[in-house]
Amino acid sequence: MWLWFAKLGSPKWFYELSSKWLPWLVVATVLVIGTATVWALLFLPPDYQQGYTSRILVVHVAVAGTSLAFFPLMAVAGTITLVWKMKLADMVAKNAAALGAWFSFITLATGSIWGSVSWGTWWEWSDSRLVSMLFQFFLLLGVVSLRSALEDSDKAAKACALLSIVGCINVVIIKYSVEWWNTLHQPASPVSLQTGSANGPEFWIATALMILGVYLFLSVSLILSTRNEILQRERRALWVQELVAAER
């Protein structure tokens, strides 16, 4: 029963399986993101309140929604690293931290570009989602810098696993406390802060498609960097040396 689990943890198995799947994933990613982009840019009717700026939200909401997946992902990978000492989980977690920081940053950037139109300002402290995303960004950078500070890779794996688990809990606490803080300091928040409340069903279909596309992109990028990590860490293994020799 545990066989598949042990297999799953084997870098070699993952490498070979991902070699088979990667082309299909790439095709799916290109198709879905392409369709969603064309749909959003060409066909989406302008929102009666926000006009064409609702096109920004398609991207922003998709990236923002996806970036929330990183801490849970890293916490699960961290638990696997700590409990079962699976090498693969740590390789995924390592790359997920950096990619998650990217996602958070793009969420903040697209959010403020949208805000510059809808709120008339590039940064708005009274939007609690923006503020808690900022702190998620900081927490992810903390995990990345802890990883690079610890030189022993085994120690770094465990330390980052622990920090990711604690961080995952903390992200939730921060989210609620920032919301609380926000409702108290801004009793009358501008109506336009309500993202997409006025958007029609077409908007949500396009956004859902974009979310799917961004998740696919996330997995492609994560698989690519995990494969690199495997080659790097398993470079003494026979199968990697054979693989390198074969590609010569």
Partner: protein, 122 residues
């Protein structure tokens, strides 16, 4: 045809203009494209660099093995067979010189290798 009718714009200029929000909309989509491109291309570039590095290391390993074989041969011939020494003087020295030449860069890159490994492990 329905599809073409469903397009929200009548002209390219209108499409580019995005109802007056050209900068914001295109900045976001540009950023999005850049974000995707960077997070795909960087791992790909790293992969080719990694493969190049692994290939170089494999070559060094091969050479080290070759050199040590050559050295073994040289020392053994020196101790054991006097005939061989007198027989192929020129042949032998040429071989040894070759080996020494190869050893020089190989040992250098071996220390390189060790240093880079230390950097990863410590």
């Amino acid at each position: 045809m329905d599809l073409i009718n469903a397009i929200q714009f009548d002209s390219w200029a209108e499409f580019i203009d995005m109802g007056g929000y050209a900068f914001n909309v295109w900045a976001v989509y540009g950023l999005f494209a850049l974000f995707i491109a960077v997070n795909i291309l960087v791992p790909l570039r790293r992969r080719s660099a990694l493969l190049r590095d692994l290939r170089r290391r494999a070559r060094i390993d091969d050479q080290v093995a070759l050199n040590s074989a050559a050295i073994n041969r040289e020392s053994m011939s020196g101790v054991q067979t006097a005939e061989a020494e007198s027989q192929g003087q020129s042949d032998e020295s040429g071989d040894a010189g070759d080996a020494r030449e190869v050893i020089q860069p190989a040992s250098q890159s071996a220390s390189d290798l060790r240093r880079s490994q230390q950097g990863e492990n410590s």
